[in-house]
Amino acid sequence: MPSYTVPYSALATEASLVKTELVRAVENVLDSGRYILGPEVAAFESEFAKYCQTKFAAGISNGTSALHLVLRGIGLDDGDEVITVPNSFVASASSIALAGAKPVFVDICDDGNMDPQRLEDAITKRTRAIVPVHLTGRPAKMTDILEIARRRNLFVLEDAAQAVGASLDGKRVGSWGDAACFSLHPLKNLHAFGDGGMVTSQDQDLMARLAKARNHGLANREQCDFWSFNSRLDEMQAAMLRVQLRHLDAWTETRRSLALRYNDLLRPYVAVPEEGPGERCVFQTYVVKADRRDELRQYLNERGVEALIHYATPIHLQPAAKGLGYSASDFPETMRHVGKIMSLPLYPTLTHTQQDRVIEIISSFYRKN
């Protein structure tokens, strides 16, 4: 593996900042002897709900399972359709397929998220739900999406996997839809030290069902009300997540100031992720759109900067999606987007020196060529 002077992530460095607190949290769980759905999960759920401005939150084993369980909970029949975007991590669509419905894609806007203008055309008699994705930590156009969803009586599940703390018009993601799913994967802004996920909602009945659905359908130790899965958030991860959550606002602020600094300094060379009106982005990934992207990426990588692409193949063109019948010409904005996007290193422990190095390499690439 090449060694980068500016690696894409720095999880070990981040963990070292709060190591004492993390170790204490782990020790508390060990001393309690409670490893499954104990007090740490319960406390983290209420703290997370408060953070997202919702009434309820439930810990789930990972973000994918969170999507899957909520979609199963709305009772999809064979042939039902759920609308999402092709420009996302595969779980946004695979969770729909696994819940028994057909993923239907709509194209994105210039900002990489669902285009509400195109949403209405994708709705059919079989549409049951809409899954807008807050990709990269930017809120989707929820006001417009919800207006359509309410008018057409459709369930809205926010895929907020990458967007904890982001808001639109002062209202946090996770509090807009009928329910929302978060990922707590290690590369997320609020992360476990392994996999983790959350569901938020204002709907008490939905959450009561979900509490059973994540735990084998058990109403209590002895009574099973419906067949389901084991998709519980680990008590140990919850204990460490409570530590992380206490630092989230500070880390998000650092992330945002670094992102806005990138924006200012990179604007002459590439299309930078500007915040739209009312948007507060949390920049889980910092994605620019660049001309001659592949060359630039190689140029960066050769000079010690680890740049990635999220995601190089849109979901509708994956081998797994063959049965859905889409072709490369179906979503022009997504295709334009996919050819230009590149994710640059951004995390709270990234230094200005490292950042300047990234900027200098990008500027030299465009000056020389």
């Binding site: 992530s9 999880l11 070990a12 963990a15 070292s16 190591k19 170790v23 782990v26 020790e27 769980v29 060990l30 001393d31 309690s32 002897g33 490893y35 499954i36 084993s61 990972n62 973000g63 994918t64 595969v90 779980a91 669509a93 695979s94 696994l98 994967h185 290690p186 992360h191 476990a192 030290f193 392994g194 996999d195 084998h216 359908g217 058990l218 109403a219 002895e222 009574q223 099973c224 009300d225 419906f226 067949w227 389901s228 899965f229 084991n230 998709s231 519980r232 680990d234 008590e235 140990m236 991860q237 692409i309 995601y311 190089a312 193949t313 979901i315 994956q318 081998p319 797994a320 999606a321």
Partner: protein
């Protein structure tokens, strides 16, 4: 005297060695799959004596994926027992199939004489459970399965370390699932599971499916799930695995002491028949007891944390309503639901605690 059911605070009283290992994990930043999970998978495969081991997020996940790996799909039927943890059956339904139950025998294991008549053209797998950590009669199950051309998936969730004539549970079926839940013989600090198989194609499918169907970072071959073993838990599991043989031996020792202590009370309380060559790991120490509910209450009042696994057989759960079973369908299983009790007999129980448990039982029946 207190005789507690859980022993986790004792098992993990000395944690420095675990923390040393975890520090290495944290320093590496490898929190999703990666070298720590791979090392644990190799170590577990070597312990059981199989070619492939694939870590999963839970034992339930391990079961679902194992069933899918042998071709269980919507419309299939899978044969199992109704006296097991709900996840055995939940996994069948999650794989899209219909659970078909057969009764158990007096050892609480699947009654091998009832399997053949439950087979239909739709049967896609037989899923025997090593219930309570005790192997069922795998040779007879394999004989039927091979003759009928049906794959066997072992639900070895409670049974890491169990053996028949020296051969480990998990090596009999085409694919086998284990749980590493905190109360299992090989346990981690939360949920965890692991699948074993000698079949290369099954292993290839499982590696793909348990990580979103991703062949590499950018390419998705099939719709998959996220059912990965956490590296954190792999690190813990790896260290526990070093001790698992001695844990199992301690459990066996304590179970024998309890068996001996209960001799003379056979009229009221009886351990199951324990055939030669079967190494049970006593994930649950089960006995059949007269006036079970009153006994459990009496034991608990006297500080002995007895439990019941489980009072409601699965075919009588609310979730099973649409399967069309009724009380009376599985008489032995139903009778056991009324008269089994689980006594604390884990590796940290002392001789004094066992003597005390026996004395309370004697007092109850006197």
């Amino acid at each position: 005297m207190q005789v507690k059911y859980s022993y986790l605070d004792q098992q993990f009283a000395e944690i420095e060695a675990y923390f040393r290992d975890l520090r290495k994990l944290v320093a590496s930043g490898e929190f999703t799959l990666g070298p720590f999970v791979e090392a644990f998978e190799r170590k577990f495969a070597a312990y059981i004596g199989v070619k492939h081991a694939i870590g999963t997020n839970t034992g339930t996940g391990a079961l679902i994926l194992s069933l899918k790996a042998v071709g269980v799909q919507p419309g299939s039927e899978v044969i199992t027992v109704a006296n097991t943890f709900i996840a055995t059956v939940g996994a069948i339904v999650a794989a899209g199939a219909r659970p078909v139950f057969v009764d158990c025998d007096e050892r609480y294991q699947i009654d091998v004489t009832k399997i053949e008549s439950a087979i239909t053209p739709k049967t896609a797998a037989i899923l025997p459970v090593h219930w309570a950590g005790c192997p069922p009669e795998m040779d007879k199950i394999l004989e039927i399965a091979d003759r009928r051309g049906i794959p066997v998936v072992e639900d070895a969730c409670p049974a890491v370390g169990a053996k028949i004539n020296g051969r480990f549970a998990g090596t009999f079926g085409k694919v086998s699932a284990f749980s590493m839940h905190p109360l299992k013989p090989l346990n981690v600090w939360g949920d965890g599971g692991i699948i074993v198989t000698d079949d290369d194609r099954a292993a290839e499918f499982l590696r793909l499916y348990h990580n979103h169907g991703l062949v590499d970072r950018d390419h998705v071959e099939i719709w998959g799930v996220n059912d990965r073993l956490q590296p954190f838990q792999a690190v813990v599991g790896s260290r526990v695995l070093d001790t698992v043989e001695s844990l199992v031996e301690a459990r066996i020792r304590n179970a024998r002491l309890l068996d001996d202590g209960l001799k003379g009370l056979e009229f009221w309380i009886r351990p199951p028949h324990r055939p030669a060559g079967y190494r049970e790991v006593y994930q649950l120490y089960l006995v059949t007891a007269t006036r079970r509910d009153a006994l459990v209450k009496f034991l608990i009042e006297h500080g002995v944390e007895a439990k019941v696994h489980y009072p409601i057989p699965i075919h009588l759960q609310n979730a099973a309503r649409n399967l069309g079973y009724k009380r009376g369908d599985f008489p032995i299983c139903e009778r056991q639901a009324d008269d089994i009790v689980t006594l604390p007999a884990h590796q940290h129980i002392t001789k004094e605690q066992i003597d005390y448990t026996v004395s309370i039982i004697q007092e109850f029946y006197r």
